[in-house]
């Protein structure tokens, strides 16, 4: 599996407890610096996990929640991993919490139906059929429970390993595999049903 640029690079791995702590930890909490360095990456992962139909206001709202959660968690951050990795974990957990909101879920489902149909600014390489296919896949994905969906997206799209996902979501590796297995199976069934309906 080829490596992809995630922006928040988890491959750097944790440092050692005895090793020097990252300079940023010694400097203490710096919201402005953290936002400047990591806002785009946090926004990207939030948008990726919420799906293509997520309204900008929702993505911004969740990104804000991520930085707020980071602010609260900062005293407990021991510098054993990169700040980017730590933020990535917070972002995935915050998204997961947000996705449990029925109202937000319903909004996303409605938005995925809408967004690709009429976009006033179209990129020349954005094909109508491609967008319909993406819409169809996300329609199926949004029927899967968020906890499974997030694992699926992290593994299949963000190309994180099960161990990495376990660390990010703070769940055992076995649970990651179980959720991934169920997500794949459910998605496959949903896609097949959806393809049958289209025929």
């Amino acid at each position: 599996m080829g490596e992809r640029t995630s922006g928040l690079d988890i491959r750097e791995g944790p440092g050692t407890a005895s090793g020097p702590r990252p300079r940023v930890v010694e400097q203490g909490w710096d919201l402005e610096g953290l936002l400047s360095r990591h806002f785009k990456d946090v926004y990207r992962i939030v948008a990726r996990l919420l799906g293509p139909g997520a309204p900008e206001a929702d993505v911004e709202d969740v990104a804000q929640q991520v930085f707020l959660a980071a602010h609260r968690a900062w005293p407990r951050f021991r510098g054993e991993s990169q700040v980017s990795t730590w933020l990535y974990g917070i972002a995935t957990r915050v998204v997961l919490t947000q996705l449990r909101s029925f109202r937000r879920q319903r909004r996303l489902q409605a938005a995925v139906e809408l967004e690709p149909v009429y976009s006033e600014v179209r990129r020349p390489d954005q094909r109508y059929q491609d967008r319909e296919e993406l819409q169809r896949i996300w329609r199926c994905l949004l029927k899967i429970k968020p906890k499974k969906r997030v694992v699926y997206l992290l593994h299949e799209i963000e190309e994180k390993s099960a161990e990495e996902i376990g660390t990010l979501l703070e769940i055992p590796v076995g649970t990651v595999w179980t959720r991934l297995h169920h997500a794949r199976r459910e998605l496959e069934q949903l896609l097949e049903k959806s393809a049958e309906r289209q025929r």
Binding site: A47, P55, Y128, Q129, I157, R184
Partner: protein, 417 residues
């Protein structure tokens, strides 16, 4: 792993990820700064004690009132989706700009919810602030110590203190009745402060878009949300906006929504007509190409191929290199083929200036080449050649093209059917 999952993964990986718009970081920074400055997430004892007292008072006040539900009965997800901090006195914070509907109470709010199923729901707000987002057709009354507020399909915020009730309207229209004063009507961007036994102060100057336009945008936002699950409702809301003589920008959005809603309801003829209005609308340039394509596709579904040709040709003239050129060419080639004009079908495919949609175009090319083989094999070959050099063509279609090019006798294509 099975095929659909592989395909899904490929599509998901290729999909563009939303990037932050200009100003997104600044907006989040400002909101975060405001939140952190208020320190609502780490309250001090000075903040906690009055809040606890207020909560206890609210509990007692509600519990002793017969026939009214205690706060414990509030479905947390429904009514307290995101507790807002009480803004500092004298500075009512702006209602949020999203399409939120429902009620959001500030953390120190004391209130009695409307009775379930009440014909005219009335919220009793005793203290603190509430943000209200009403869907079109929804009404709500709010009673405070200083004022009676009634609203229909609007978004606004109310804050009650010991001295006064402050109302700020984001969208729609809100009626405010003070204790001994005539009713005031507030529009979008207006705010009002009502004190006990005092005439309401004059509404502040408008600072936002006119009230009607705000309400129309709100209605359209709700219609968009309804489109997937309830197309008739989306259509009704879009028509409601169209009936209010909106400006060109809102009008074309409403028309586009109406067309989509009609199509999703299966009202193809009506959808065809509305897409036509979208395509010809002075502000519809951003929608025209897709609207014309939709018209053609709908006419084809209705079995009126001749009617489909017009929009396709118009779109080709207006958007020769538009993103839907491949879809258009494929549809046009099928229509020409059905009308018995394989040479015109071939010309339509050879005219496609933008490559893309390889599978769709390859299928159309194969179909036309097959029909054209007996009368113009050279033209048929030129149609098939691009399939061989396009990496995106599925293997099955590639193989069919190879076979056709390898057996160029007139009878060959029939074997491939």
């Amino acid at each position: 792993m099975s095929d659909p999952l592989d395909q899904a993964r490929a599509v998901l990986r290729q999909a563009e990820v939303q990037v932050p718009s200009l100003g997104a970081e600044a907006r989040v920074r400002a909101r975060l700064r405001g939140t952190l400055d208020r320190r609502w997430y780490e309250p001090t004892w000075r903040q906690v004690v009055p809040a606890l007292v207020a909560m206890a008072a609210a509990w007692v006040g509600v519990a002793v009132r017969p026939g009214q539900a205690p706060p414990a009965a509030i479905p947390a997800q429904e009514f307290a989706e995101r507790p807002l901090p009480t803004p500092p006195r004298g500075a009512l914070s702006s209602p949020s700009k999203d399409t939120f509907t429902g009620l959001r109470f500030g953390s120190s709010a004391r209130y009695v919810l409307p009775e379930v199923g009440a014909a005219r729901p009335v919220l009793r707000l005793e203290w603190g602030n509430v943000e209200v987002g009403l869907e079109p057709g929804e009404t709500l009354g709010i009673e405070t110590a200083h004022a009676s507020i009634s609203a229909l399909a609007s978004r606004f915020q109310v804050e009650v203190t010991a001295e006064e009730t402050r109302i700020q309207v984001a969208e729609g229209t809100v009626h405010v009745q003070g204790p001994d004063a005539p009713e005031q009507v507030l529009g979008a961007g207006q705010r009002l402060s009502v004190r006990a036994r005092q005439r309401p102060s004059a509404p502040a100057a408008k600072v936002a878009a006119p009230a009607l336009e705000g309400e129309q945008r709100h209605t359209l936002a709700v219609a968009k949300q309804a489109l997937a699950e309830d197309p008739p409702r989306a259509a009704a809301l879009a028509e409601q906006v169209l009936g209010q003589a909106p400006g060109p920008e809102i009008e074309v959005q409403a028309l586009a929504l109406l067309a989509d809603a009609e199509r999703r309801q299966g009202a193809h003829r009506r959808a065809f007509q509305v897409y036509g209005r979208v395509a010809r609308h002075p502000g519809g340039r951003g929608y025209a190409e897709e609207a014309l394509y939709r018209q053609a596709a709908l006419a084809t579904e209705l079995g009126q191929e001749q009617e489909a040709l017009g929009p396709l040709k118009e779109a080709e003239n207006l958007f020769p290199r538009g993103p839907l050129a491949p879809e258009r060419a494929a549809l046009l080639s099928r229509l020409e083929l059905k009308n018995g004009h394989p040479e015109r079908a071939a010309a339509a495919l050879l005219r496609v200036p933008v490559e893309g949609r390889p599978a769709l175009l390859a299928e159309a090319r194969l179909e036309v080449a097959q029909a054209l083989w007996s009368q113009d094999p050279e033209q048929a070959r030129s149609l098939l050649q691009p399939i061989l050099s396009d990496n995106g063509v599925p293997v099955e279609l590639l193989r069919r093209a190879q076979v056709m090019l390898g057996q160029d006798e007139p009878g060959a294509p029939a074997q491939l059917r």
